[in-house]
């Protein structure tokens, strides 16, 4: 007898997928580029990486880490057209274009460790990316990356990490699998995905030349029209020209997030003059769903002014496996922190607003993941990645 044939014949023939199921599956794909957008856009093809010190304490944006609800702003920062907070940035001198523009970024993702000695958070999946671009086409461009050591998030986390015996590796659940991070850094490498050199590259900064960026308008309205209009956002996000209604709705819900990402990409990667930066910040602050939340400290312990999106809920189900303790709903928001003197971007991060699920033991303001600008500038000598780690 043929058991294979028997099995084949005995499984009932299911109904084909409905049009709605197909549309839903396609919509997920259309969303996929947006999910990896932080890397894609702000990465400009470079590996985006991360890190904060074992001893580095996060002063949370908004500062209020007790109790539930949204962190209360420490002080209201007025970023409307009349606001004076950006006066310094607006007066800052425009830097002349050099030969090479370099960008040094970090990124990291927080994970919760739950040893018997006490729950603490670490930054894992943390890496640093260094890239440079010739000012003109043909001057070349290069992308380097390295993994940074996984480390406890705050001083308090560091104390609990020591109590747990100072483990040098961390096994964590990541989406649909376990990953292990270690406390070791890797060497800089120009090999691998999203790394490498292109001797013929250069001169292209998010689709614009260095000169074009210098000549951008400084008015928030014009900049908003230029970079944050619906059509422009859809184009930048790689959306279909005529998305279905369902997609439209998702797009609108994610809009404040996308706006933040777009401005963060522009400011984090491209050589944009201070006045344009100030204009972009104002443009961002005036978008629906975006709020000025006060002064904050970024994951590298630098002070700045912060804008945040409305928060949104994330529900983790056990659908893809993983520890039960991870399941449940939490709320979070996107936050950007700028250096108010220069308009330079310091960091973009996802910040807990209402603890729950895997972050039930964390407090509002807890940083779920981040990208931070370590440094970025023009230089006349060919840039090389820094040997020293961004934190101790």
């Amino acid at each position: 007898m043929d058991e294979v044939r028997m099995v084949r014949d005995r499984y009932p023939e299911p109904a084909p997928p409905t049009a709605q199921e197909i549309a839903r599956a396609k919509a997920l794909l259309n969303e996929a580029p947006r999910r990896s957008l932080p890397r894609l856009r702000w990465g400009l093809g470079g590996v985006v990486a991360a890190g904060a010190a074992a001893t580095l304490a996060f002063t949370l944006v908004g500062g209020n880490t007790s109790g539930g609800g949204n962190p209360a702003p420490l002080r209201t920062v007025n970023l409307d057209a009349k606001g004076a907070i950006l006066a310094a940035a607006e007066k800052a001198e425009q830097q002349p274009i050099g030969k090479y523009w370099y960008v040094d970024h970090l990124d990291g993702q927080s994970y919760i460790m739950r040893p018997k000695t006490g729950t603490y958070a670490i930054t894992g999946a943390t890496s640093e990316s260094f890239s440079w671009y010739g000012a003109k086409p043909g001057m070349g461009e290069a992308y380097y990356g390295r993994d940074l050591p996984a480390h406890p998030l705050t001083a308090r986390d560091a104390a609990l990490w020591r109590k747990a015996g100072s483990p040098s590796s961390f096994r964590v659940w990541s989406g649909d699998k376990y990953l292990t991070f270690t406390t070791k850094a890797t060497k800089w490498s120009a090999n691998g995905p999203e790394r490498g050199t292109d001797p013929r590259g250069g001169g292209d900064f998010m689709g614009k030349s260095a000169k074009e960026l210098q000549n951008l308008p400084t008015s928030p309205d014009e900049l908003a029209k230029m970079f944050l209009s619906e059509t422009e956002m859809k184009r930048a996000m790689g959306h279909l020209p005529n998305p279905r209604a369902e997609l439209e709705q998702r797009f609108r819900q994610a809009e404040p997030y996308s706006d933040i990402m777009r401005v963060a990409s522009l400011l984090g990667r491209a050589p944009v003059p201070p006045k344009v930066r100030a204009g972009l910040m104002r443009a961002l602050a005036s978008q629906p769903g975006i709020h000025a939340i006060g002064r904050g400290t970024d994951p590298l312990d630098r002070q700045g002014v912060a804008l945040a999106s409305d928060d949104r809920a994330t529900t983790v189900t056990g659908e893809f496996g993983g520890p039960k303790v991870d399941q449940g709903t939490y709320r979070s928001r996107a936050v950007v922190i700028f250096d108010e003197r220069t308009g330079a971007l310091l960091s973009r991060q996802e910040e807990l607003t209402k603890p729950g699920g895997r972050y039930a033991e964390m407090k509002p303001g807890f940083i779920i993941e981040y990208q931070a600008v370590r440094s970025t500038n023009w230089t006349d000598t060919k840039p090389t990645p820094p040997a020293e780690l961004p934190f101790d």
Binding site: P12, E13, P17
Partner: protein, 185 residues
């Protein structure tokens, strides 16, 4: 399969979706029932989309590659699969679908998978079940199953043999094909 080269995932993912979505959905529906099928199929294509640049046409046909991903996604629903199979097993081969109003039953046609066979498949170790069902439901060759699951050709053969032996024993060594056909005939 036709002689046309398959669409390349890295550049033409829309085509990959259009060509294979219904088929992967069918596979998922057979293994997990219609409710989970839509999710599993969608998740399969989402993962395929994310991995599209890593797809190696030298190693496997796009279709094989997708079945491999789908099987992994189904694996995360392992409990759902064994639950569905066990429910079908409990229904037994002799009762007609009209008697049952449960959702699980409504998805099982008169010729559905019932009784000892469903129970025996549910009891198979996952590796054996994956191989058996990729061969039986997806019509993959041994080579293709090996590529889809990332296991050796020899392992495919031995798992399939063990699965067949288990089924044969579970069904009492009789010819269940005949028995079932008689019942429905």
């Amino acid at each position: 399969m036709t002689g046309d080269p398959p669409p390349r995932p890295a550049e033409r993912f829309d085509e990959v979706f259009d060509v294979y979505f219904a088929e992967i959905h069918r596979y998922a529906a057979k293994r997990l029932g219609p409710d989970a099928a839509a999710d599993v199929a969608a998740q399969t294509f989402l993962e395929a989309f994310r991995q599209r640049r890593r797809y190696d046409p030298e190693r496997a046909h796009v279709r094989t590659w997708l079945y491999g991903i789908a099987t992994k996604v189904v694996g995360r629903h392992k409990r759902a699969e064994t639950r569905a199979l066990r429910t079908r097993a409990r229904l037994g081969p002799g009762r007609s679908s009209e008697e049952h109003t449960e959702r699980v039953d409504s998805r099982v046609s008169a010729e559905g998978l019932r009784g000892e066979l469903a129970g025996a498949i549910a009891a198979l170790p996952r590796g054996q079940r994956d191989v058996l069902l990729l061969v039986a439901l997806a019509d993959l060759s041994h080579d293709e199953v090996a590529a889809a699951l990332g296991i050796s050709y020899g392992t495919v053969g031995s798992r399939l043999n063990r699965a067949r032996t288990t089924l044969r024993k579970a069904l009492g060594g009789t010819n269940p094909m005949l028995t079932l056909e008689e019942q429905h005939g």
